[in-house]
């Protein structure tokens, strides 16, 4: 019996249990009048029974699915001849893989008698285990239904029980997000630690040269690579700076326009248009950058007698700035509109012009929100990958000149992990160290931003 059938049957039992519980409650409550005698609405009794019928059984099923693979393999290994069990782990794994691959093909028979026997052994184990799990799940479902039905009485507080279960589900749902984050951070952290076993931390943090070329095979003649992150950070910073120089004034001014100057009709047109800008995929911005803006910047630079690289930090930063404009303008617009009208009227009644009101009163009052938006935008710019992969280039120059090609942390992560790589090499592991670095930087920015915003709020609201 396969797992899909078991799940379907369990759902069927759940539905049946719901109706059984509800009708039992109605009957014990006295038919048509039941709602008056029952503690909870009849449906809650149904849900209560359904939960008891399905939840314990579902947990057993889930638990089985989690350990299934490991149990079955252990079972097969115990059935193997002594000589094979003594093999080194690598070879044993290879053999077991063979067995597993053969087992899923219905008619396959291995040439090697040992493997053939193991395959048979495995198939039998799968068959037996699936049946026994199905039986166990079925029994649990029946037992749960029976126990829960016995509890159904007019005075029984079914609603409270059901609501308690629902609140557990809500807790579980929110923990999933948190646990996933912790899991990702830990996995990046451990890989990064393995990297730092090969490359010392101080060399990574303070080295000024980035050239992650290591030998892929032992017999290959390659450089040992240098992993100084400084050029990458400089490139990231440079591009972020350029993009913020574009996005901050334009985004802020457009927010001031939509929030303070435009009539509601103009606002109704402008805001959705800005949001369309936010919906353009970054890869589209990327080829806009590399095909239109980069040549334009180069041409302009040459006309001015400057030496511009064909993939310049300026081009990537400009386009990234355009991409970030809607983010800043939308968040700043919200922050500005959240400023109470009473402040606007207070300033207006003092004889302040609209411009004086905005600059002197509204913007300072909206500052926490605007600052929060800007920090989000900075995080976005630092983490942005596609545009810089396409437009900024790969040359790890340590430079502050926006006309040169630079590379960023995210671009290097992509290039390190694309293509065939040996997982143990410093080159591959460097990607995790870079990822950790990126994570730490954005987290610090967010913490900084939040404390700033909070302190400001405490003072002024």
């Amino acid at each position: 019996m396969n797992m899909t059938t078991v799940v379907l049957l369990l759902s069927g039992v759940g539905i049946a249990a719901f109706y059984a519980g509800r009708s039992r409650a109605l009957r014990l409550g006295g038919g048509i009048d039941a709602a008056r005698h029952l503690h909870s609405l009849p449906g809650y009794y149904g849900y209560f029974v359904a939960i008891w019928a399905t939840l314990p059984a579902a947990f057993v099923l889930l638990g089985w699915l989690l350990v299934r693979e490991r149990l079955l393999i252990a079972w097969v290994v115990t059935g193997l001849p002594e000589s094979i069990r003594e093999l080194p782990p690598g070879q044993l794994d290879l053999l077991l893989n063979n067995v597993l691959n053969l087992a899923v093909l219905p008619d396959a028979v291995a040439a090697d008698p040992v493997i053939a026997a193991a395959t048979e052994h495995y198939r039998a184990a799968v068959e037996i285990s699936q049946w026994s799990v199905a039986v166990a799940v079925g029994a649990l479902a029946m037992l749960g239904t029976w126990l829960a039905l016995r509890l159904v009485r007019p005075g029984f507080r079914a609603r409270n029980r059901v609501e308690a279960v629902i609140s557990r589900f809500l807790v579980a749902a929110s923990s999933i997000a948190i646990l996933t984050t912790i899991g990702i951070v830990l996995s990046v952290l451990f890989e990064a630690l393995r990297f730092f076993e090969q490359v010392p931390l101080h060399e990574f943090l303070f080295g000024t040269s980035w050239s992650p070329q290591t030998a892929i095979r032992d017999d290959q003649v390659g450089s040992s690579g240098s992993f100084g992150i400084a050029p990458l950070l400089a490139g990231t910073l440079l591009i972020t700076l350029i993009s913020m120089l574009i996005a901050l004034p334009i985004g802020l001014m457009s927010a001031v326009f939509t929030a303070e100057y435009s009539t509601s009709r103009i606002r109704g047109v402008v805001k959705p248009l800005l949001e369309v800008l936010a919906g353009i995929p970054t890869v589209v911005y990327g080829f806009f950058a590399v095909l239109s803006v980069a040549p334009w910047v180069r041409g302009l630079g040459e006309a001015l007698g400057l030496d511009v690289a064909s993939e310049s930090a300026l081009a990537a930063g400009l386009v990234m700035g355009v991409m970030i404009i809607p983010l800043i303008s939308s968040l700043a617009d919200d922050a500005i509109r959240a400023v109470p009208d009473s402040l606007r009227e207070g300033a207006t009644a003092l004889g302040a012009t609209r411009y004086e009101t905005i600059v002197g009163i509204i913007l300072p009052a909206a500052m926490p929100g605007i600052a929060g938006g800007v920090l989000l935008a900075v995080s976005r710019a630092i983490g942005e990958t596609m545009i810089v992969v396409m437009a900024a280039g790969l040359a790890a120059n340590l430079t502050a000149n926006p006309l040169e090609a630079v590379t960023t942390v995210t671009v290097q992560i992509v290039t390190l992990l694309v293509g065939d790589q040996e997982f143990e090499s410093a080159k591959t592991l460097a990607a995790f160290a870079l990822g950790l670095m990126l994570f730490v930087i954005t987290m610090l920015l967010n913490v900084l931003g939040l404390t700033f915003v909070r302190r400001y709020r405490e003072r002024y609201e």
């Binding site: 402040l343 207070g346 004889g351 009163i361 003072r459 002024y460």
Partner: protein
């Protein structure tokens, strides 16, 4: 001080009488057949009212009767509301405030306003008061500005309470202090008229009493138009009362007379608590 009645236009403030004198006073604001609309809603219907120098006039009436709208017509604050329209005439010192050459910004420096809910700016106490003088360029140097701020705070009785913490946020003050700060902010600009839109409705009784005392003191120097829901307050602070209902001015007269001997049935119903 002597009353002068020969000239209605542009009378200097020194020519006003004290608030208690019953002499004929010089008109400060002359409202003639004023209509106001918000979109399709006809909020004010043909209001005509003279407000004289030296008086505190209270606008009373049930919710939605147009008291606040009338108040906001006097400093053209309704200009800022989308869909608001005004027809008719309002003259301040004989000068039509809705005339084309009049800049509402300059008008608002002469007609200050205090709002229902205290609305100090999210700035320091000092900057709250200094904001108006700064945007109107009333002080040429820091010492002069300091002087304006101190005098204004002193005037509302706030200086001794906040002298040592002028650089703390105005929003940290108590509700009553905030409202007095807002009044100080208004008089720092040197207006002739102060409009007050239910200035005590968000305050506790003690803070309310302080504001009412303050209104009495300010009445010596400023024309005060106050909207209030409290008839006791109107009786305590005003010299005249105007009763509005459904956008129309029903009755206006000496405070005592209105409360003891209303001429109009609607006024009587309202002050005896039968409507509103």
């Amino acid at each position: 001080m002597t009353a002068s009645t020969d000239e209605t236009g542009a009378g200097p403030r020194e020519a006003t009488t004290g608030p208690t004198a019953d002499a004929i006073r010089e008109t400060c604001i002359a409202i003639r057949e004023l209509d106001a609309w918000y979109g399709d809603i006809h909020a004010l219907r043909s209001i005509s009212l003279d407000i004289a120098y030296g008086e505190v006039i209270a606008l009373i009436g049930p919710s939605g009767c147009g008291k606040t709208t009338l108040l906001r017509c006097l400093n053209r604050l309704n200009d800022e509301v989308e869909g608001a329209r005004v027809a008719g005439s309002v003259r301040l010192d004989g000068q039509e405030i809705y005339a084309r050459p009049v800049d509402p910004v300059a008008l608002r420096a002469r007609v200050g306003m205090v709002f229902q809910k205290p609305n100090p700016f999210p700035k320091s106490i000092y900057d709250n008061v200094a904001y108006g003088p700064r945007i109107h360029g009333l002080a040429t140097d820091r010492a002069q500005l300091d002087d304006i701020v101190h005098v204004s705070l002193e005037r509302v009785g706030l200086l001794k309470e906040v002298r040592d913490r002028l650089d703390e946020p105005g929003t940290d003050l108590s509700g009553g202090q905030q409202q007095r700060l807002c009044i100080a902010r208004t008089i720092a600009v040197g207006p002739e008229v102060i409009l007050m839109d239910e200035p005590c409705s968000a305050l506790d009784p003690i803070a309310t009493a302080r504001i009412e005392d303050l209104i009495d003191e300010l009445a010596e120097d400023y024309v005060i138009v106050i909207v209030t829901h409290s008839m006791q307050q109107a009786a305590r602070v005003s010299s005249r009362v105007a009763y509005l209902n459904h956008g129309s001015l029903i009755e206006v007269g000496e405070t005592n007379r209105i409360f003891t001997n209303p001429q109009h049935k609607l006024t009587e119903d309202y002050i005896t608590g039968r409507i509103g």
